[in-house]
Symmetry: C2
Subunit: 193 residues, 2 copies
């Protein structure tokens, strides 16, 4: 299955397209390959693309005043990633997005995305639905962060994203949960008893 086909079958989950429409849609995307540790978004630069992950994993994070990392988002196969706030406003990013493994991505430029959305009601619907899911997801994360202790948050993460726990480094997971690696270490070996 080509990357075009993969993004095509992803879109099928949301909207029903004719063969021609699917071609119009997927041909706006371009495949890119990035190596582990390579950055696709960096603070200060306007993020020109939104990325769909065909293969590999990535991590979006900010660096606080004190110099510490804070993970905002992970992405693996079938997920999207960018610095959304900066991307949709086309303003300089405040985040890094880095490959945690070698990746195959499909990228679409901001302009091409605008063209797609303007050209076809269904494409607009697709992006609206995707954005609503993102909103709901972020809201759940806020609720969890407000209502749960560190070890509960870890348990919920393991439950929700068992695959990610295997694939992302501990320091990235700890900073996603809003704790230090040392404390995560403690939590994990309390569990294992």
């Amino acid at each position: 299955m080509t990357s075009q086909e993969k993004i095509g079958s992803y879109v099928d989950r949301f909207i029903r397209l004719t063969g021609e429409e699917k071609f119009e849609f997927t041909s706006r995307f371009k495949e890119t390959r990035v190596k582990k540790r390579q950055f696709i978004v960096q603070p200060g630069f306007v993020p020109k693309y939104r990325y769909f992950v065909i293969e590999g994993s990535l991590r979006a994070y900010v660096v606080g005043d004190e110099g510490k990392d804070h993970t905002i988002q992970f992405a693996i196969e079938d997920w999207w990633i960018s610095d959304y706030d900066s991307y949709i406003h086309q303003q300089p990013a405040s985040m890094f997005v880095v490959a945690l493994e070698d990746c195959v991505l499909m990228q679409i430029s901001f302009e091409d995305e605008q063209i797609l959305k303007a050209s076809n009601h269904k494409f607009e619907t697709f992006f609206r639905q995707k954005s609503e899911l993102a909103t709901a997801f972020l809201q759940r994360r806020i609720v969890t962060n407000l209502t749960r202790s560190a070890s509960e948050r870890y348990a919920i993460f393991v439950e929700t994203f068992p695959e990610l726990v295997q694939r992302v480094p501990q320091y990235a997971l700890a900073s996603y949960l809003g704790i230090t690696t040392q404390f995560l270490s403690k939590i994990r070996n309390q569990k294992s008893r």
Copy 2:
């Protein structure tokens, strides 16, 4: 200015509509008035409506296992409110949404919203844009919560929503920031020196 006109002029900020389209859009909304302390969303019930605030203020919150409130969102004039996660999935809510002051709201039902979005590309665009802004906003909140101390979060809130600071009770603000009222009290009188 009627409530219809107010929601009409709000929509103008996002999309350009003909007079007829604007009528189609706004006439799907219905004015409702709620008194202070009245609930418009409650856990266990599917939220049938999304609300646009014409006048007054509201608060969305969850109650954690320990019985404490955690404020997820505020809304004042020109803002929208509901339990989005439950609304878009049409599943029983996990939040309360309560009026902090007497309110005038415009409500749209889930079904009418679907009809609007399906009937006109521009309406779909409107909801997509609104959802993208919400996503960007929630992402910024997550970043702030991960990277800032309680007193920094308070300062940022005051800076960003000076009006809300005047209008919402301290306990609601504290629980939005993820701290106790006692600690907020401490922060405030440290500032005032």
